[in-house]
Each structure stands twice: as structure tokens, then as C-alpha cells.
């Protein structure tokens, strides 16, 4: 800060420097955009080992160069129904999938695909006791093991909790990442808004909840940053090919989102966001109660300190409601997506999980 009333000379000098930079960017940027850009996501090789309706089970094998960390039990990762699992393999140097493989973990990733009109009646039960249960059984059978490791991402983590509570015998270790479990909080805007939204009218109107509707909602969470500042940042840096490629990868992932099956959305909003039944052990899925005290396997609950979608308050009470004493919280200093893609957490996230799994192998 300065002492002069208006340091007009310095202000104009800086403005002129910025203008010069803007001119350079505007000259070079269009050339970058016209070049062949590598914006492919989910490039780690995999094999589709099972398909059913819209879902696919991707199988990743560790490379020969992997450093075996001693985790032999296969790991199934279940993503949320919102956005796609490709975020876990967004770019080569920031890939959760690659990090697991490099640690010698054999990985299965459930791709929920794109729901169509015929999927509108699929409930949480169909997803948990149908698709998830089927792929868990298949992996157990293929590997000749009684139990597998399970990692859930966001809503996929909530599904994981329901599954582990109803099929505890099939899960060896449970990892929940940025998973909403406590809905009786007003820390996050989603938790406030969804209490005032009528899921019935949305589902009855659209069948499946359109992805664009949810994208609007996510953008609305922070319009100044997500609709303005983000693109200003892009305009300032679009002369850098690497920046543009990474930006476009993220942009591609964000807006390539599937619709959400209507009945699943209805139950998730009503039972979780509006009635907070999960932690009270009052939720019913497939006609059976979801009792979290049935979760007796080790639990690692990872959440992000600056998460605006699933804030810490929505995650950090879970370990007190499960039936295991081997339950642990891990809070990372990042946001909802940063936990998987930021360069800082790449050193903490996967290595932390692998080390935790190894101790319980």
C-alpha cells in the first residue's frame, strides 16, 4: 500500500504492463487453440470385464514397473452418480488410478454410464444391492477371496456405507472419500438448498434429473469464481499449451455429466438431505434397514477442509456412528475435487490409503 493520493504513474505503468501481456497472450493464444491439443482424459489402459445395462466394470492391472506395497486384496472404486469416474484419471501426472497401480494395487472401477429414460425407475436399492453387489461378487469370485477392499467417492461413498452395512461380510476395508453422511448441517449451500427443493416435482417432470440442471446448481454455488474468474484466468494464460490442455480436460470432465436416475435422486434427497435418516440408522434400502453399526470392518474416512459441496461437517461425524473401533478420519487441506487432482494431495491421498490398507492386509 502507498502513501500518495493516487499513484497514477505507477498504476498506469502496471496497467500498461498488463496490457502488453494481454496483447502477447491474444497474439499467441489463438495459435495454441488451433494446434493439436491433447485433452484426452482417462488414458490409463483398462479392460472392460463386465457390463450390465448401462454400467461397465473397468479393470486396471498394475504395470510391471509398479513398486509392490504389499496390498494384495483387489480394490473396487465406486464413483458418484453425478459427473463421471474419469476424474480419477484426469491427466497422466495427476491420476489417482495411476498412483494406485504404481503402488501395485489391482483396481476395479465402476463406470455408471449414462442413464436413459428406461433407468428412471432405478432406486438406490437397484444400484447398491443390484449393480454393486453383482460386481463385488464377481471380483470375489475372480480372485477367489471372501472379501475385497471398497473405496467410495462422494455419493458413491454413501452407497458404500449402505452396502457395507447390508453386506458386511463381503468388505475387508472400507474407504469413504468426501462422502456425505451427516445431512443435519448447514455448512454447505447444497445442504441448505436441497432442504427447500421438492424432489417429487423434479423427478415427476423430467424422469431422470437432467445433468444441465445440476450443472447450473453447481455453478451457482460460487458464480463469481466459476462463471467469471475462472474464465478470466483462462484468458490470461491461454498462450500456454500445457495450461490450455489441463484447463480443457477439466472443462470436459465438468460438463460431461450424466443425468441422474429419477427414483434414486428422489430417495437420496428425501431420505438423506431432508430427513437425515442415514446416521440415525432409519434409512431403508431394498426393504431392509441400513444399520451403520453393522460396519465392523476398518473404516478410513477422508474429507477435504475446503470442500464447498460436501463440507467437513457433513463427513466428520461418521466414525462415531459405525460399529468398528478401527475408524479413522483424514482431513486434507484442499477442496472437493482438489483431493483427487491437486498436485499437493497427490503426495498424501493415494500413499495414505495404500499405507492404511497395507497395515490391514
Amino acid at each position: 500500500m502507498e502513501t500518495a493520493a493516487i499513484p497514477i504513474d505507477q498504476f498506469l505503468r502496471k496497467l500498461s504492463e498488463d496490457s502488453q501481456r494481454a496483447l502477447e497472450v491474444s497474439q499467441k493464444g489463438p495459435q495454441v487453440m488451433l494446434e493439436e491439443l491433447d485433452t484426452a482424459i482417462s488414458t490409463t489402459p483398462y479392460e472392460v470385464v463386465y457390463t450390465e445395462d448401462r454400467i461397465k466394470l473397468k479393470h486396471y492391472l498394475p504395470p510391471k514397473t509398479a513398486v509392490d506395497q504389499g496390498v494384495n486384496t483387489p480394490l473396487l472404486i465406486v464413483y458418484a452418480l453425478i459427473n463421471r469416474e474419469t476424474m480419477l484419471d484426469l491427466q497422466p501426472n495427476r491420476s489417482v488410478v495411476k498412483s494406485f497401480l504404481n503402488s501395485g494395487v489391482e483396481l476395479y472401477l465402476l463406470d455408471w454410464g449414462s442413464p436413459t429414460r428406461k433407468d428412471r425407475y432405478l432406486t438406490i436399492d437397484d444400484h447398491v444391492n443390484g449393480y454393486i453387489n453383482t460386481v463385488v461378487d464377481l471380483i470375489r469370485e475372480w480372485h477367489g477371496v471372501e472379501q475385497i477392499n471398497f473405496m467410495g467417492v462422494c455419493m458413491g461413498g454413501t452407497f458404500g456405507l449402505i452396502y457395507a452395512a447390508q453386506h458386511p461380510e463381503k468388505i475387508k476395508n472400507l474407504i469413504t472419500t468426501v462422502t456425505p453422511s451427516n445431512f443435519d448441517t448447514e455448512e454447505g449451500l447444497l445442504h441448505i438448498w436441497l432442504k427447500h427443493v421438492d424432489p417429487d416435482i423434479i423427478v415427476d417432470t423430467y424422469g431422470n434429473v437432467p445433468a444441465y440442471l445440476m450443472n447450473y446448481a453447481f455453478l451457482l454455488l460460487n458464480p463469481a469464481r466459476l462463471m467469471f474468474d475462472k474464465y478470466l484466468g483462462f484468458m490470461e494464460n491461454f498462450d500456454s499449451k500445457e495450461f490450455v490442455e489441463n484447463f480443457l480436460r477439466m472443462e470436459r470432465w465438468i460438463f460431461d455429466s450424466p443425468d441422474v436416475p429419477g427414483e434414486t435422486f428422489r430417495q437420496f434427497i428425501r431420505d438423506c438431505y431432508q430427513k437425515d435418516l442415514l446416521l440415525q440408522n432409519k434409512m431403508v434400502v431394498g426393504g431392509k434397514p441400513v444399520n451403520l453399526t453393522n460396519i465392523r470392518m476398518p473404516l478410513l474416512n477422508i474429507y477435504a477442509k475446503f470442500d464447498h459441496l460436501v463440507p467437513p461437517g457433513a463427513c466428520n461425524t461418521l466414525i462415531h456412528h459405525v460399529g468398528t473401533s478401527d475408524a479413522q478420519d483424514l482431513c486434507l487441506e484442499t477442496g472437493h475435487i482438489g483431493i483427487y487432482v491437486s498436485s499437493k494431495t497427490q503426495k498424501e491421498f493415494v500413499p495414505g490409503i495404500v499405507s492404511w490398507l497395507y497395515q490391514r492386509e
Binding site: D18, D126, G130, L189, D198, D204, A224, R225
Partner: protein
């Protein structure tokens, strides 16, 4: 013009003058219309009298004009019903003039009040203290428009229809009504969303003066941008937790969904005319398919348990 002025005698006189002027204009126009030529003898319909046809047109035009003139004058007069009663074919229309008069007056009042609000704001433009006021959303204008629609227009779209096309017409009217309601709700919602940006502009003016007074004006324009962004972000966070936002969000969503459903009803009706399966037809099939799949899954699970049990019994034996 104040609120009282809207109902003043001057206002009524102005309306009457306008109506009178409109009537005179129509009269002039009518006289410029050429009288249609009589059809040629071989084109005449058998049994019709050509002399009657030649004379009828100017007479009918004149009668039609007189009706219109009376109609306009009746709207401008304090007792329209008495004027209308003398018109041929209009004896049952005594209730119409007040409706038109009311609609025209309401439209005029809305127009003048909005014009008045804008004029007031423009008049205050040079007043620096009033710039903040001018930057403020004109919530009054939006709510006036919303009220006007609800009170004066909507009722015409919800008139019960009669006859063979009753339901089609009602569906269509409902779609138009829901479209208007959705547009109004979205207008209010987006106006609210824009509020933090307007507040940011006002705040930045104050902040700039503050920096200048304290001799702390930033060297870097980006510092100003960052401060503005932080302020706007903070305002959004506060707004998104407010009752007002939640109310307008709910209103915008509900109206959007209602319009979507009204539109769907019209499309489904058209589709059914052409034997095209509607969304509802497809949903019925999908529901059935879903139920069947669930039954199969349950049976598979029972069969698996049964087989496992049988195999275990066989091993034991």
C-alpha cells in the same frame, strides 16, 4: 405524476381524447378504402340481384364504421353501456366496455408508473448520491409487472373453454400462462442473482474514495479486481443463505417445472393424434420392465440360496 394522479380527471380526459382521436383516424382510413367492384354478370350467383350487391357494400361498410365509432366513443364515455345499447348487434355486450376500459386504464397506469420511475431515476442520474439508488434493481417495476400479469392478463388465459376442443384449448392456454409465469419468475430470480454485482459496483466506488482519502490507492489494477471479487463472492454467500433467495429459487424452479409439464401435455396431445407413443406410454413400459427385472433378481437370489443349501445338504449326507 403521483399515485393519486393516476385516477385524476386529467387522466380520464387524456384517455377520452386519445379514444376520440383513434375513432377519427379510423374514420379517415375507412373513407380512403375503395368500394369493391361488382362481380361480372356471368360470375353472379344465380338468383341474386346485382343492384342489391352494388348498394350493399358501402352501406355495410358505413354501418360497420358507425359501430366502431360508437364502440370507441363508448369506451371514452363515462356510461359506455348506454352508448352500446343503441348499436345493432351489440345489445348483449354491455359488459364488454368496462373490461376494455379497465384493461386499457391498467396498461396505461402501468406504463405511466414505470415511465415515472425511470424518469425519476434518469432525473437523478447526475446526483452522485442517487447513483447507488439508480444501480439498485428496480424491484418495484418487476413486482408491478408481475402483479399486472396476475391480475389483468392471467384471468383471460384461465377462462373455461367450451365445445369439442375444450381440453385442447385449455391445455394450450395453460402452456401460455405457465410460460409467462416462468418468464416472470426467472426474471425476478436472475435480477436477484445480479444484485451482488450491482452492490460490488457501488462498493467499489466507496472503496476507491476511501483509498484516495487514505492515500492508499493500489498500484496494481489486479489488487482492485481481487478486492472486488472477494466482496462479490462474500455477498453471494450471504445471499444464497437468505430466505429471499430460497423463496425465489423455489418459485423459479416450480414455475419452470410447471411450464415444462404444461408444454409436455400439449406435445403429448399432438403426438397421440398421430399415434406416436408419448413419454407416458414409454414410462409405463419401462416401469413394467423394471418390475420384471427386480422379480428376476429376487428369483435368482432365491435360486442361488436354494442351490447352496442343497449342495451343503448333499455334502453333509
Amino acid at each position: 405524476m403521483t399515485t393519486e394522479d393516476k385516477h385524476s380527471p386529467e387522466m380520464a380526459t387524456a384517455m377520452a381524447q386519445w379514444m376520440d382521436q383513434a375513432a377519427r383516424t379510423w374514420k379517415d382510413l375507412l373513407h380512403t378504402w375503395p368500394v369493391p367492384e361488382a362481380p361480372a354478370a356471368d360470375e353472379k350467383t344465380p338468383g341474386t340481384d346485382s343492384s342489391k350487391t352494388d348498394d350493399a357494400d358501402p352501406l355495410q361498410s358505413d354501418a360497420a364504421f358507425k359501430n366502431w365509432q360508437s364502440f370507441f366513443q363508448s369506451i371514452a364515455q363515462p356510461d359506455p353501456a348506454s352508448m352500446m345499447s343503441g348499436m345493432p348487434g351489440m345489445s348483449g355486450a354491455q359488459s364488454v366496455p368496462p373490461v376494455f376500459s379497465q384493461l386499457a386504464t391498467s396498461s396505461w397506469q402501468l406504463f405511466t408508473s414505470m415511465q415515472q420511475a425511470w424518469a425519476k431515476q434518469i432525473g437523478q442520474f447526475v446526483d452522485q448520491d442517487r447513483i447507488k439508488e439508480w444501480l439498485r434493481p428496480d424491484e418495484e417495476a418487476l413486482s408491478q409487472w408481475s402483479d399486472f400479469y396476475e391480475k389483468e392478463i392471467r384471468k383471460y388465459l384461465t377462462i373455461p373453454q367450451i365445445g369439442l376442443n375444450k381440453f385442447s384449448q385449455e391445455n394450450f392456454n395453460r402452456m401460455i400462462d405457465r410460460f409467462n409465469a416462468k418468464q416472470l419468475a426467472l426474471m425476478e430470480f436472475f435480477d436477484l442473482l445480479y444484485r451482488p454485482v450491482r452492490q460490488g459496483a457501488t462498493w467499489m466506488q466507496g472503496k476507491t474514495s476511501e483509498w484516495i482519502d487514505a492515500g492508499q490507492f493500489p498500484h496494481d489494477p489486479k489488487t482492485i479486481y481481487r478486492q472486488w471479487l472477494k466482496f462479490v463472492e462474500g455477498r453471494y454467500m450471504a445471499l444464497f443463505r437468505s430466505e429471499e433467495f430460497l423463496r425465489l429459487l423455489q418459485k423459479a424452479l416450480t414455475n419452470t417445472f410447471e411450464y415444462h409439464n404444461a408444454r409436455k401435455a400439449v406435445i403429448e396431445e399432438v403426438s397421440s393424434q398421430f399415434s406416436i407413443p408419448t413419454g407416458r406410454d414409454l414410462d409405463e413400459v419401462y416401469r413394467e420392465l423394471h418390475n420384471l427385472k427386480q422379480q428376476v433378481r429376487t428369483m435368482e437370489s432365491q435360486l442361488y440360496e436354494y442351490t447352496a443349501q442343497a449342495s451343503s445338504t448333499a455334502h453333509t449326507a
